[in-house]
Amino acid sequence: MTLLWLSAGSILLILCSIVLYVVYRGSHDLGVEFVLGQPENIWLAGGMLPALIGTLYTVLIALLFATPLGIGAAVHLTQYTKEGRTTKLMRIGSDALNAIPSIVFGLFGLTLFLYYLRMKPSVFAAGLTLGFMILPTIIRTAEVAIKAVPWSEIEGSYALGATKLQTITGVILPTALPGIITGVILGLGRAAGETAPIIWLASFWPPITPLSPADPFNSLTTTLYFLTSEAQNEQYITRAFAVASLLLFMVLVLNYVARALNNRLSANIRR
C-alpha cells in the first residue's frame, strides 16, 4: 500500500516539477502579447502567433486527413471483412505503423512530398505527415468503440428494414462517437506536440503566418527546437521555456475542450 502511494506520489511529483519548472523558467516572457503578438528580432521578442497558427493549422490538416480515413478503415475492419488473414494483416500493419519512431515519419514525409511530389515545405505536407503518424491511433480506438456497440441495437436497426450502410451511419457510428472522439483527442495531442515528423517541412526563420495550406509555416515545436539549437545567450533559453509553456498550455486546453465535448456526447448515449 505504501509502495502504491509512493509510486503514485512520485508520478505527481515528477509531473508537477516539470510543469512548474518550465513555466517558472519561461514566466518572464509569458503574457497575452506573447501568445497573440507578432515576433520581433528572430523570435527573441514579441509574440509567437505565427508559430501558434502554424501548429493549429498543421494539426487541423492532420485531423481532416486522418479522422475520416481512420474511421473508414475501422468500419471496414469491423463491418465489411470477416475475421481472418486480411484483418490480421491490417491490424499488424496498423500496430507496426504505431510503433514507428516519429522521426521516420518525418523522413518519409520529406522523401514523399519534397523529393517525389516536388512540393514545397508547407502546412499541407506537414499536416499529411502528422496525419500518417496519428492514423493508427484513430483506427485502433475507433475499432474498439465500434466493437463495443451492442449487437441488440444493430439487430434492432436491421429489423426495421435498414440496410447495412444505414445501420452503420444511423446507429453504429453515433453510438461509437464518444470512443471515436477519444481516439481523435489522443491523435490531436500527439500531433500538436511532435517535432520530428515536421522538422524538415517547417521553416525556422523567418516567422511566417500561413494563409493557404500551400504556404510555408513555423510551428511551436520547431521554433522551440530552433531557439535551443541556435541559443547564443540566456534570452534564447528563456524564450524556449516560454514556448514550451505555451505548448503545454495549448495541449491542455485542447484536451480539456475535447474531453468536455466527449462528456456531453456520451451523456446522450448513456449505457
Binding site: 434492432g156 436497426s157 436491421y158 429489423a159 426495421l160 428494414g161 435498414a162 446522450n268 448513456r270 449505457r271
Partner: protein, 253 residues
Amino acid sequence: MDQKNKILVKDLNLWYGDKQALKDNNLNIKENRVTALIGPSGCGKSTFIRCLNRMNDLIDGVKITGEVLLDNKNIYDKDIDPVALRKRVGMVFQRPNPFPMSIFDNVAYGPRIHGIKDKTELRRIVEESLVGAALWGEVSDRLNTNALDLSGGQQQRLCIARTLAVKPEVVLFDEPCSALDPIATGKIEDLMQDLKKKYTIVIVTHNMQQAARVSDYTGFFLLGRLLEFAKTRDIFENPKKKETEDYITGRFG
C-alpha cells in the same frame, strides 16, 4: 369463418454449421390472429421466428432449406430483398433495445431510412405509432428526452411503436416480456389484442399462461420440431401429444 393464411411454412430446416436446430417444420399463420410458439428453452422457437423475417441471415454459418410463403411468395426466393422483407415483417426483441437517442428519433428512425423527410408527416407517424403502442399518453410531453430514461416496460412499448412506424404487415415478438415486471407485461398483453386487428402477430414465449391469455393459435416446439399446432384452447384443454400435455401441465420445462 376461417381466416386467410398470412404465412405458410413448408418443410423448414435450419442448421448452425453442422448442428441442425430446426427439423421439417410446417405451419400456417393466420392473418389478424395471434399465434404463440411455446416450448422449453433451446427448443428452436426463437430460431424459428427469426426465419420469418430472415434475421438469421445476419449470422454466419446458418443454412436454411424449405419455404416460408408470405402472401404465397417464398421469402427465401432469390429475387426477395431481405431489407425490403423486414419492412413488411417487423420484430420486437427479448430485451428492449431502443437506440441511444430521443424518443422521437427512435420512432422516426424507420420512416426516415425509408425516405420520409417531411417533418409534419414524421410527426404524424410518430404520434400515430406511439398511440398504437399505448405509450403516447406517457411520453407526449417529452418526445425529445433520451429513450434510455424510460422504464423497461416503456422502452419495450417504444420498441413496439418503432416497429409499427414502418407500417409492417406482420409483427414478430421474441419473448417480449421476459425482461419486464407483471404490470408492464399486462400492458403489452392488452396491447396485442388491439394490434391483431391491424397486424398478424407471432409471439414466442416461455410463459404458458401468457400464450393462453393472448393467442388464438399455439404451436408447441420440442427439440427443433413443431410437435403440435392447434387453436390455443384445444392445445391447453385437449393436447393430442403426450409431450405437449407434460409440458403444459408443468411436468417438464
